[in-house]
Assembly symmetry: C2
Homo-oligomer: 492 residues x 2
């Protein structure tokens, strides 16, 4: 506990890994690439889920649940999608174990229990869902279908990192079906905007909204919209994607509907998702060398009360006041923990709650009792002040709101200071390698140029921002004409 974290400037990547495990958010498991999300980390994820779920429902979406497994023949039906995920699929081939005759007490796969058709553990659910929608959709009256599911998915990644890239992760995936192209396009944008609102207003993470270039597009999509966040090390992180799938899946699974005019047409589709990867974005946007910094909206404990005392009599006196404050704050909707453990010292507790990112700490000692005050410390700024006890019930909720706002502003200032316009490839390389962040540059629109730039600098096109202005320019790499700047960055 007393051992300090590696600092961000020493080794950003090590800082992240240490923070995730030492703040009790997650840890690696015995299964390669699969993580265990610990109670404290899961409590944060639950808050994200709850807020997103509310947003989905208030925009007319319903939850449902589709199978974990996708039969190989369905998986391969939409070719681009299949091609995109085939290389990282966990495949179930057998349905039984039996005693191993050569090793008593050990089991082995029963060769007689081989499946006729292999099952892919879903890396994403378009295939199984569109195979189902086929039976649900006959007429325009059956449309739109607006469904979301909260699920686990598996992508057999070779290099994994807690939350950022794991073989199994938790996510939500929306899958909608529409009668017209326009409606599906609108849904795609609606969801990307919903994700942006969620990231910015709930998680205090500023994001750039835009559209992916062809090579960064979801396998099987016509267009992928996205929100891109910027981490403190200057690398971008894709925080959510919303795909316009056109009629690709409807054609692959033969899903047609009778139009109001009596015709028969293929259905239009979208899909969209955010995942436990957002936990990584949260951690790397706000935290510091002392540990996690949590926006109050996401903090499982918003206020911790630590008693400073000698002997059980003092503790009892302080407990009376602490419990009163706890009750008042809870009545005001604040989550509070009173840590009266007697086997660790206040300093240990201070460090622990700092590491875990609890936004506010109240310390109460005998002098504070006399003066009717508490010592209030902010996690994000480390500022301390003395506040009269009877003002806490109004002061604390307001302060939590203020912290939420200030964390967003701080992150936005950092992000804005790390968007750099460049007009030559020399400049581009220098900014990417030294300053980092988003680099706004002209690009000729070809996959070849994007690949060449990636090869040379490791930077990729994060998105073509919604707000990109039409302007006359030349590609920084090829010198060919370009009408818009796009955002490049190195990315997670």
């Amino acid at each position: 506990m007393s051992k300090k974290l590696t600092t961000r400037s020493q080794d950003y990547s090590k800082w992240y890994n240490e923070l995730v495990t030492r703040a009790d958010l997650a840890e690696n498991s015995a299964v390669r690439g699969c993580m265990i999300i610990k109670p404290y980390g899961f409590a944060i994820w639950e808050k994200m889920k709850e807020e997103l779920d509310k947003k989905f429902k208030s925009t007319g979406h319903q939850n449902a649940y589709f199978p974990l497994f996708v039969p190989k023949s369905l998986f391969e039906a939409e070719e681009k999608n299949a091609e995109g995920f085939a290389k990282e699929c966990a495949v179930v081939t057998h349905y039984r174990l039996k005693n191993n005759p050569d090793e008593p007490g050990k089991l082995m796969v029963d060769p007689e229990a081989k499946l006729e058709e292999e099952l892919v553990v879903r890396p994403t659910s378009e295939a199984i869902i569109w195979n189902t929608y086929k039976n649900w959709i006959q007429s325009y009256r059956d449309l739109p279908i607006l469904i979301n599911q909260w699920a686990n998915v598996v992508r057999w990644e070779m290099r994994t990192r807690l939350f950022l890239r794991t073989a199994e992760f938790l996510w939500q995936e929306g899958h909608t079906a529409h009668a017209t192209e326009q409606e599906a396009q609108e849904e795609t944008r609606l969801i990307n905007q919903l994700y942006a609102d969620f990231a910015e207003n709930f998680m205090a993470i500023p994001v750039i909204k835009g559209i992916k270039s062809e090579s960064e597009r979801f396998a099987g999509a016509i267009d992928t919209h996205c929100i891109e966040a910027l981490m403190q090390d200057g690398k971008a992180l894709q925080a959510g994607t919303s795909h316009f799938l056109g009629q690709n899946f409807a054609k692959a699974f033969d899903v047609k509907f009778a139009t109001a005019e009596g015709g028969l047409e293929h259905v239009w589709a979208t899909s969209w998702g955010v995942s436990t990867r957002l936990m990584g974005a949260l951690i790397m946007t706000h935290s510091d060398d002392n540990g996690l910094v949590l926006p109050p909206n996401l903090a499982p404990i918003q206020v911790v009360i630590v008693p400073i005392y000698k002997g059980s009599e003092q503790l009892e006196e302080i407990s009376v006041v602490a419990n009163k404050i706890k009750g008042e704050l809870e009545a005001a909707g604040v989550s509070v923990k009173f840590d009266n453990r007697d086997n660790v010292k206040p300093g240990f507790k201070f460090n622990d709650y700092e590491l875990k990112g609890v936004p506010l700490r109240l310390a109460i000692g005998p002098k504070d009792l006399e003066k009717g005050q508490v010592e209030l410390a902010r996690r994000d700024t480390f500022t301390k002040s003395f506040i009269p006890q009877n003002e806490l019930r109004t002061h604390i909720p307001a302060l939590l709101q203020q912290i939420q706002k200030e964390l967003f502003e701080k992150a936005k200032n950092f992000r804005d200071a790390h968007i750099t316009e460049v007009n030559s490839f020399e400049e581009f390389k220098q900014v990417i390698s030294e300053k980092g962040g988003f680099v706004s540059a002209h690009w000729d629109g070809t996959v070849e140029t994007e690949d060449a730039i990636k090869k040379e600098t490791k930077a990729t096109i994060r998105c073509i921002p919604y707000q990109a202005q039409e302007e006359v320019g030349v590609c920084i790499y090829s010198g060919k004409p370009s009408s818009k700047r796009v955002f490049f960055a190195k990315a997670y």
Copy 2:
């Protein structure tokens, strides 16, 4: 839609299957034995989840998430548990697909991507969790650990039925670790009582609390506590189980803790779960030949308003009143749908909401507007009455509570009328085959007798009820002495 359901007396099993699919609760998928939970069914499951989650948290439990996969070597560590589940395991053996050179456009398992160690898709998570707890527990200060997870699990059942027995199902599984046997025993009972409260007070399903006989025990448990419900066809349904695992898993995974006294001891464990099987219990406890009957607590739509009108002018007038009522009821916490679809007739809507188990229906026609009333129909009793519009905001919430209570009482009366005490095997066989329900009988306590009775009658011991009285008796089958009656039944 207009086609009637098969009735329960015609074919109970067919009635159930039709009801599940036609009420839009769930359907079979392209994956053998795996179901799709449709939005209406999932909305009911979400209400169960929310209520259970609240109960777990208010008793000190936290949620977390552990991997979907269990490496074979961990899976086999606790031998009885492994033996119990080995025959129904989905096994991942490969992590990649590749293009099939013989069939362009098709994929095949890449033989070069064979896993060194096979992964079992979790049928339950004791193994992976206790392998983790090993690292979390050093001292008595680390105990208790009270963790729950909401997850999907897979058991490769050969005969599947929607909700009741599916290859993949959703559930919650609690896994707790304790310093003493007594504490673990208390946890086991606490959770079984929590499940009973939930079933009875939230789902209106009366249950018998008790302990399983050895042959019905969870694989790896010392004792399995359970709640048993009774379906309308006289068959029992195990609705929840809570296992006292003793030190079995702690020994299998070598999980020891330093006691306060300086010793080193194995940790005591419990695990417990309820699943989407509860949806089956819900359906078969309350529903009738017209469709689903939902207790108000679980109804996604508690009140539907159907306008009875000719022409758009009447519809407009009715809509004003309907929307006002909707707003008032929603403010009182009631979920309301106003069905103003103009492409189907009121009779069609009436049937549809009956099929879907909406507890209350309000019909409003022109005459009702004149009289300031609505026609109110109860789904459970089919009774109708006219209620002044201005009384609805108090009348409806009270009536919903009353329905909730009456559904429980009705189910309890049925259940109580189907507990039969018998004192001979002749009588036993007759009751089991003709009347059904629970049969309370003396049993000599041996597996042999239980097996023989099962073979002859298909009835099993559902539980040894908590409330069983000590009394002198003789086993109905073997004639050997017995000190307690146990509950037998045919079961799902």
